[in-house]
């Protein structure tokens, strides 16, 4: 039996037995290589379930849909390791109770999908620890290194070029599981911290604020990057911030559901070589 079929059977069983009230998974999208979220409430609906290497979207954000979790009934969700880390962060930030979430874990490498052992988020701790070990290597990226090698002027020009295309559609925000605020700072107009017209200055500010708010929280799922209609390499900035908090504070986002947010905590001996 393929993994897809194994999981399909499992989903049907979970729903039929009433263990969960809903399973969030994937179904075919508009084109052959695209998948869309599938909210499965009945065993029959599970027939449409797809699980293959095209299932790349981090679905964890859907858990925060208004009212979904408020009845305290369990929900199962298909997640890759980055999505599992998202669950930890959302739990640490009190957005959900991880007890309520049943994880159907999978990973895909070289077009091969493999199943991950475990249901509760704590059961993936060893896996996440091994991902943290590899993070310094995994976060490396040729374009990122190329940007780092530039002079500040060149870097500014590079991002100016990228951000000038931004149309402030906020698809990046919508796609991100971490952007759950009821009111985003960019929607705050008293005062108007971020210029909302889509001129480059406002775009600069918006993207800087977005990256800052995701520092130490982004799991690098790439939802933002894929959602961007003008192809701004948003993931690069997030990866850079992830490198920074890992290097400076040994903080790797989503390690556990009790992890302290990196910017709401401190150590007395944090680095301060840059302070005069």
């Amino acid at each position: 039996m393929t993994i897809q079929e194994t999981y399909k059977a499992r989903v049907k069983k979970l729903l039929a037995s009433g263990t969960v009230k809903m399973v969030i998974g994937y179904k075919p999208g508009t084109t052959a290589d695209r998948r869309r979220p599938h909210f499965i409430r009945t065993p029959e609906e599970a027939d449409q379930l797809v699980l293959d290497s095209a299932c790349i979207t981090n679905l964890s954000g859907y858990l925060l849909s208004e009212g979904l979790l408020s009845d305290e009934k369990a929900v199962a969700i298909f997640l890759k390791p980055d999505g599992i880390r998202s669950i930890n962060i959302l739990a640490a930030e009190a957005q959900l109770n991880s007890e309520q979430i049943l994880i159907l874990g999978f990973d895909s490498n070289d077009n091969q999908v493999t199943a991950l052992e475990g249901e509760k988020v704590e059961e993936f701790t060893t896996l996440i620890e091994s991902i943290k070990e590899q993070a310094p290597e995994a976060l490396k990226n040729p374009l990122l290194e190329q940007i780092e090698g530039m002079t500040p002027k060149e870097r500014f020009a590079f991002w100016q070029g990228e951000f000038s295309r931004c149309i402030k559609c906020y698809a990046c925000r919508q796609a991100c599981p971490m952007c759950y605020c009821r009111r985003c700072i960019v929607d705050c107009n008293q005062p108007q911290w971020v210029n909302t017209s889509s001129h480059t200055l406002g775009n600069f500010e918006w993207n800087i604020v977005r990256a800052f708010h995701l520092s130490g929280r982004c799991v690098g799922c790439g939802n933002c990057d894929r959602a961007c209609p003008v192809n701004i390499p948003l993931r690069l900035i997030n990866a850079k911030m992830a490198q920074e908090v890992l290097g400076a504070f040994d903080h790797f986002s989503g390690m556990s559901h009790t992890q302290e947010p990196v910017l709401a905590s401190f150590k007395k001996d944090d680095s301060e070589t840059f302070i005069l």
């Binding site: 930030e93 957005q95 605020c181 009821r182 009111r183 700072i185 705050c188 005062p191 108007q192 709401a264």
Partner: protein
């Protein structure tokens, strides 16, 4: 529609010398929303304040900016004036164009331009100020006095005699501090113990004073009127309740060769001891570090000698928690380690001693019962050299400041010596004689004129031993000649320095300190007994070097501050506190974790049927201290800080 009044102060010529105030007033008058823009010689003076009030009333001003000195100076003054004119005091802001502008810049055009920027940005801020009301918080009417020297005792007695409760904490086994170590005190030569010990007893027996000796303050949380204090009661190994202070244990203790801290190493004590004969409480403690039982597991002679079984080797440190309304810090000083002067041979030659050691020699209750004898051979010295400023006023090896008391006590030492050793000769090397104080100059004159003490103006370069003498080489700058004196004893007028742990302690209780570790007053001239933290006051030498009258005065001043605070049931606090917009709060609780005061709670928002709608953060304004750390953390911009709101700061920056 904003109607802002801008009042530009010349501060005599302090501002107008560098800032063109007329031009500034004209420039600001053009700024949108400014209804009045005037300059005047002194706005802080009565006519100035009256003119502001008049302008508020006549023009129905909605906000006021006073461009003058630092808000740390006169913000309160001008806010009060505004309130008197019927304007909410928090609608007044200060543009600091003196400390931050006229005093520090030389170019008039650039200074004027900067002053305009500063003023404009404050106008923009004040347009967005909110009418705030002071917050009322309850006051716990119980004072904590830290340190049981003369300053602490005085403060505790003054507060207690006014009927308020006091907890007096002393880290040594007895009250008394440095004053208890002194022989006679200048300028009256009355015996230090004779005047101090009755006060020690009074403090210990006072019904309103709870005395905690051998105890240390380990943490202070909370804020003015509502401090939570944790005190460590160090294990004495002697039961305070049952011990009668008979002293049998001390007599029997086999360890008697321990250098006495109280006698500055000149005398000895046992491992179970009271620091001195008149200790209060007169109940011993066991020094764990030197006790034979604690070192070898065998002895317990004291335990067997105690007829009422007051000794308990199993005693542990205990922690007690106190609710406190105000704190007086009177933690005192220490004498500088004179080993920094290798050339004087302190620590190398036993007859080179500090002034404090000389006090112990001269004290009737000291190790020599008041006889001046050399530590090396117990002989009476016939020639003593005193070296003043051995540490003070010496940036290279000692401290830059003047320790204030050394001129006086050195004169006193020389006088006492001439009274005790009639054929003795003393020489004092000095830089200046600083004898400012009631009866002080008369005292030093007497030393010179009646007691024949020889004063040599100059420094000592070296002290070295020769036979049984100490050779002192110095210079008499008035004669312009080097001098060498064969002395029997050398006394160093050592600098007063902060307690070794003063900086750590300041951090523990949350007050500011200077480069040396002396605690900072809120204002050197106008608020000299308040620390930088509201509700914490300073007394005595923990703030700066002082003599006894000054320490006692400051202690009484601190006590009066405490009593003023305790005169009301509640206290008005600055309404600079955070608040949360519950509608936009995402409930991520980052602020709860970030708040240094645990002032943010998790709050459930329920619908009418009691069903949970959402959970949000909620700020307790009584606990919030207004740092704004939560506001900066808040990603959704739901939290804000009154007085420094997002809108205000935004406008301030945009106004620059």
């Amino acid at each position: 529609m904003a109607k802002i009044g801008v009042f530009i102060c010349h501060c005599g010529e302090n501002i107008s010398a560098k800032v063109d105030c007329k031009k500034l007033a004209a420039t600001i008058a053009e700024h949108p929303g400014v209804a009045v823009s005037v300059d005047y010689k002194y706005f802080c003076a009565d006519p100035g304040q009256e003119s502001i009030k008049k302008a508020i009333r006549e023009n129905h001003l909605t906000g006021v900016v006073v461009a003058a000195c630092s808000p740390r100076m006169h913000e309160a003054t001008f806010r009060k004036a505004c309130a008197e004119a019927g304007l909410n005091p928090y609608m007044c802001e200060i543009a600091n164009i003196r400390e931050h502008c006229s005093w520090v810049h030389t170019d008039q055009d650039m200074a004027t331009e900067k002053a305009a920027d500063i003023t404009r940005s404050m106008v923009e801020k004040v347009k967005r100020n909110n009418k705030l009301q002071p917050i009322e918080v309850p006051v716990t009417r119980r004072a904590l006095v830290i340190g049981g020297g003369v300053a602490g005792i005085q403060a505790a007695l003054d507060i207690a005699n006014a009927g308020q409760e006091v907890v007096l904490v002393e880290r040594e086994p007895s009250l008394g501090g440095h004053m208890a170590q002194l022989s006679e005190t200048f300028p009256t030569l009355d015996c230090s113990q004779c005047i101090l010990t009755p006060r020690m007893v009074e403090a210990a027996q006072h019904p309103k004073i709870r005395l905690l000796t051998y105890a240390e303050v380990v943490s202070v949380d909370g804020y003015i009127g509502n401090f939570h204090v944790k005190v460590k009661m160090k294990a004495r190994y002697v039961d305070m309740e049952s011990c009668t202070g008979c002293g049998d244990c001390i007599t029997k203790c086999p360890q008697k060769k321990i250098s006495s801290e109280f006698d500055c190493g000149i005398g000895k004590r046992a491992a179970i001891y009271t620091p001195f004969a008149q200790s209060v409480p007169n109940k011993p403690v066991i020094d764990k570090a030197t006790c034979t039982y604690f070192k070898n597991g065998k002895c317990k002679i004291c335990m067997r000698s105690c007829q009422i079984n007051a000794i308990n080797f199993d005693m542990q440190d205990e922690f007690i928690e106190l609710e406190i309304g105000a704190i007086v810090v009177a933690t005192g000083f220490q004498v500088q380690n004179n080993a920094v002067y290798g050339e004087y041979g302190y620590g190398k030659y036993p007859d080179v001693i500090t002034g404090l050691q000389f006090e112990r020699l001269a004290s009737a209750s000291g190790p020599t019962f008041g006889k001046i004898l050399r530590p090396s051979d117990g002989k009476e010295p016939k020639n003593i050299v005193f070296i003043q400023c051995a540490g003070s006023r010496d940036p290279s090896k000692g401290v830059r400041y003047c320790s204030k008391i050394c001129c006086m006590y050195t004169a006193k030492h020389a006088m006492l010596y001439s009274h005790k050793v009639h054929d003795g000769k003393s020489h004092i090397f000095y830089m200046d004689i600083r004898a400012a104080g009631k009866g002080y100059d008369e005292f030093t004159r007497r030393t010179i004129e009646e007691d024949g003490v020889s004063y040599l103006r100059g420094r000592v370069s070296k002290v070295w031993p020769k036979m049984s003498k100490l050779m002192v080489r110095g210079v008499d700058t008035l004669l312009g000649k080097p001098v060498v004196i064969a002395a029997d004893m050398v006394v160093l007028a050592t600098a007063m320095v902060p307690q070794p742990d003063a900086k750590e302690f300041a951090k523990t209780i949350g007050i500011a300190y200077d480069e040396y570790g002396f605690f900072n007053e809120a204002h050197l001239k106008l608020r000299p007994v308040e620390s930088s933290t509201a509700g914490i006051f300073l007394a005595g030498t923990c703030q700066s070097p002082k003599d006894i009258p000054d320490s006692v005065s400051q202690a009484s001043a601190s006590a009066s501050k405490v009593l003023a605070l305790f005169s009301k049931q509640t206290l008005e606090r600055e309404p600079v506190v955070a608040s949360n917009n519950e509608a936009t709060c995402a409930g991520c609780w980052g602020c709860v974790l970030a708040c240094p005061y645990n002032a943010i709670e998790k709050k459930d928002i329920l619908d009418r049927s009691g069903k949970l709608i959402k959970r949000v953060a909620s700020v307790n304004p009584g606990l919030c201290q207004g740092c704004g750390t939560c506001v900066t953390f808040c990603r959704s911009n739901s939290l804000d800080l009154a007085g420094f709101t997002e809108k205000q700061i935004f406008a301030e920056v945009m106004g620059l």
